[in-house]
Symmetry: C2
Subunit: 386 residues, 2 copies
DNA sequence: CGGACTTAGTAAACTGCGTAGCATTATTCT
DNA sequence: AGAATAATGCTACGCAGTTTACTAAGTCCG
C-alpha cells in the first residue's frame, strides 16, 4: 500500500492508459463511446485518443456508409499489430511455436516433431529453427517480438532453469533463457508446462468464468497447475502443485494401471497403450474397465489433496488423456465426493495439445501489459530485457 | 483491469490518501518529511495535511525543544484513536475479546472462560457481555467500533455461517453475523480460527517476512490457514486448507497417539494428557517419545500435502501444542524432508492463545482500510454495514 | 550579543488538465 | 430544400500541484 502522490502529468498518463484499455478488445469505437466507457468527457477522450494515434498505439478508421442518422463518427481502433509475442511449447516429442498480436489473435503457428532423445543443444537448435520459420512466414523481424514465454516439462525456478527433475534429456544443466537472450532482447520467461496450460484454460478454455482453478495435466506423467484468485501461483520456490511427489499420492503409478492390461498390443508405445485401454474400456472390455477404474482411484487421491488444500471452483482435466475424459470425469467426480468436503466442478479441457503454447502466449501478453501499458506509456517499441 | 478516467477532484482524493498513508505507522512527521515520502511538493503536502487535520484524521503537535538547526517544524500525527476495531476469539473453552485503535495498538482485552457445552444462545450472550466489559473499561460506545471480526472453530462460509462441522455445540444453525448486527452497524465478519491465526503470524508473529505461509493450528484438532502472496485465501467455498478430511492424511488420528500412552494419569482431560505426554517425552520416557514420534509422522503427511501443493516459504507451527514445539520442529522437519521437493522453513508460533483474536483484529483493520481509507475519504465516522 | 546560516511556513504567479457550453459540419429524414 | 440529428472543433473556465520568492523562527559562531 505504498501510495505515492500524483501530479497532472501522471493523471494524463493514467487517462491515456484508461482510453487505451477501453480501446482494446472491442470493435472500433467512436470518441463518444470511449468517453462513456472511461468516464471522461468527450473532449478529453478526443485529445487522448488522438495522442494515441500520434504515438502509434491506435489508428483511425474514416467514416464509411453510416447506418444511422446524424454525422457519422470516426472510429478508432487499437493497433494490435504494433507488436507480437511468441509462445513456445518445448515437449519431449514436439515443439510448438505460436505467434500472436497484442490482442491475442493468432498470427502464425508451427508444430514440428522432436527427437525424444535429443540433447539440450539439439533441441534448442530445433526451437530456433521453428521460431525462424514462424517469423519468416509471418514476415516479422526479431525486433517485432515484444515478449517470449516458453513452456518445458518439470519444475522451473524463477530464472527459468529446470530444477529437481525434467524429462527433457540434459535439460538440468541448460539455461534456456540465456540461450534465447542471445537472439532476442525482449523479456523472456520459461515456465512449467502444467502451469501454462492452466493459464490457457482461464484465457481461452473451459475455465474462463473462474478465478480459482486446479488444472490437471493428465498423461503418462501427471502434473498440476494452480490459479488462485485469477493469478497463476508458482509457490515460493516454483514447485507449487507438485503433489505427485507425495508417496501417499499414487500419481506416479496411476498411469501404470493403464499400461498393465494383459492384452495391450505388443510393441505399442506407452501413450498408444493407454489410448488402446481407454478404447477397450469404452467398448466394454472388463479388464480395461478395471484398469481405468484403478487409474482414476489413484488419480483421485492427489486431486483430492489439491482440492482440499485450495477449495477451487473448477478442476480442469487436461493433457493427453483428456481425449478420454468421457470415461474419466464421472468416476473421478464420484471418487472426489468420497474424499472432499466440497466437490468442485469438473470439466474436460478442449484445448487439445495447444494448451501449453496458448498459456505461454498469455503470459507473454501479460508481460507486455505490465511493462508497456501500465507504468509509463511510451511509443510502441519492444521492451528491453525483463 | 477496468481502469477508469480521473479528474482533478479524484486526483486530490488520491493525494490526500497518499498523505494519510504516509502519516500512518510512523512517528509524528513534518510537512517536509511527508512531502518527501509522498513525492509531492511541500506546499501540496501542507494543504493536504491541514485538510486531514480539519477532517479529524490527523492532529498537530506544536514544535517543542528543537534539537537541530533551523526553525523547528510542526509535526503531524495520525489520529489512531479516531476509531477502533474489535477482534473476538470464540473458542470452546474461552472467549477472548481484543480492542485496538486504527494503528493496531492494543487498547483493551479480556479473556473469559466458557462452558464447553454451552449452546449458541448462551455462548453469544457471553460474547456480548465480554464485549460490553471491554468497551466499558476502555470508555467506548458502540459507535466507536468501526469493524468487528470474530473467529470460530470449523469452516465458515462467505456469510460467516458455520458449515460442514464445528465443535461449538449447536453452532450450525446460528448466524453470528446477524446476532452482532442487532447491536453494531459496522462491518462484521466471522472467520475460521486457523485462518485468523495465520493472518496474525504475518502481522505480529514469526512470519512477518513471508508472503507464502502455511499455518498449522496444532492441538487436539489440527487445522490449517493459508496465506498466498500476502493474502489470506479462503478458497471458493471457504474450506481451503481442510486437508485433514483426506483419509490418506491421518490428522484426525494424529493427536490420538498422544492420548494413547499407557501411563497418562487417569482423569486427565485430553489436553492435559497431551501436555503430560510431551513432558514425559522431554524427560526421556521412551513410550512417550514413541507416541510423539507417531504423532509427528502422521502430522507430517498432511503438512507435506499442503507444502507440495503450495510450496510456501514458511510453515508456522501454532496452536495449543506449539508450547511443545521444541519436541516437534526438528523431527517434523526431518519427516517433511522425506516427502517434499523443497522443504520450507519451519517456525514455532510465539503468539500463544492470542493468535486468533490478533488475526481478527488485523482483518477488521483491513476492512476499515478498504472501506474508509481507499475509495473515498470522508470524515472519520464508523462505516455502515459491510 | 549580534549577524550568518538553516529550515519552516506562506503567498503569489505559472502551468497543465479536464469540463462545460456553444458554434460548426456532415449526414438522414420528411 | 429544409429540419432534425449527431459528431467535431473551439474557447472560456475552474481547479490542483509546482515553482519561486519572501518572511518567520530557530541555531551556530565569532
Amino acid at each position: 500500500m505504498a501510495m505515492s502522490g500524483t501530479d497532472l502529468s501522471r493523471m494524463r498518463e493514467m487517462n491515456q492508459l484508461s482510453v487505451l484499455w477501453a480501446l482494446r478488445g472491442t470493435a472500433p469505437s467512436t470518441v463518444t463511446e470511449l468517453a462513456g466507457r472511461t468516464g471522461l468527457s468527450r473532449p478529453a477522450a478526443d485529445v487522448l485518443v488522438q495522442q494515441l494515434v500520434a504515438d502509434g498505439w491506435a489508428e483511425v478508421e474514416e467514416p464509411g456508409a453510416s447506418s444511422t442518422v446524424g454525422r457519422p463518427a470516426r472510429r478508432y481502433r487499437f493497433r494490435a499489430n504494433a507488436g507480437h509475442v511468441l509462445g513456445i511449447d518445448v515437449g519431449v516429442h514436439k515443439i510448438l511455436v505460436m505467434l500472436c498480436d497484442l490482442e491475442g489473435n493468432l498470427v502464425q503457428s508451427l508444430r514440428c516433431p522432436a527427437d525424444p532423445h535429443a540433447g539440450p543443444d539439439e533441441r534448442l537448435a530445433a526451437v530456433d529453427e521453428t521460431i525462424d520459420e514462424v517469423l519468416r512466414e509471418a514476415g516479422m523481424a526479431v525486433t517485432d517480438v515484444w515478449a517470449i514465454t516458453m513452456g518445458v516439462t518439470g519444475p522451473v525456478d524463477g530464472n527459468g532453469r529446470s530444477i529437481i527433475s525434467t524429462h527433457l534429456p540434459g535439460w538440468r544443466d541448460t539455461d534456456p533463457v540465456a540461450h534465447l537472450r542471445t537472439r532476442f532482447t525482449c523479456p523472456i520467461r520459461v515456465e512449467n508446462d502444467c502451469k501454462l496450460a492452466a493459464v490457457a484454460e482461464r484465457w481461452k478454455g473451459v475455465a474462463q468464468d473462474a478465478d480459482d482453478i486446479v488444472y490437471l495435466l493428465a498423461g503418462l506423467r501427471t502434473g498440476a497447475g494452480l490459479i488462485i484468485d485469477g493469478t497463476l501461483r508458482r509457490g515460493h520456490g516454483g514447485v507449487a502443485g507438485e503433489i505427485g511427489a507425495l508417496k501417499a499420492v499414487r500419481w506416479l503409478n496411476a498411469p501404470a494401471h493403464l499400461a498393465a492390461h494383459p492384452e495391450v498390443p505388443s510393441g505399442a508405445k506407452p501413450g498408444e497403450a493407454a489410448a488402446w485401454v481407454f478404447q477397450a474400456a469404452r467398448e466394454g472390455d472388463s479388464a480395461a474397465k478395471t484398469a481405468v477404474q484403478r487409474y482414476i482411484r489413484d488419480l483421485a487421491v492427489g486431486v483430492a489433496a489439491l482440492v482440499l488444500t485450495l477449495d477451487p471452483q473448477i478442476v480442469v482435466y487436461g493433457g493427453g488423456f483428456s481425449r478420454s475424459a468421457d470415461l474419466v470425469l464421472d468416476p473421478l467426480r464420484r471418487e472426489l465426493a468420497k474424499h472432499c468436503l466440497r466437490v468442485p466442478e469438473l470439466r474436460a479441457s478442449t484445448l487439445r495439445d495447444e494448451g501449453v503454447a496458448l498459456g505461454a502466449l498469455r503470459l507473454a501478453l501479460d508481460q507486455v501489459d505490465n511493462t508497456l501499458l501500465s507504468s509509463q506509456l511510451a511509443a510502441p517499441v519492444a521492451p528491453q530485457f525483463s
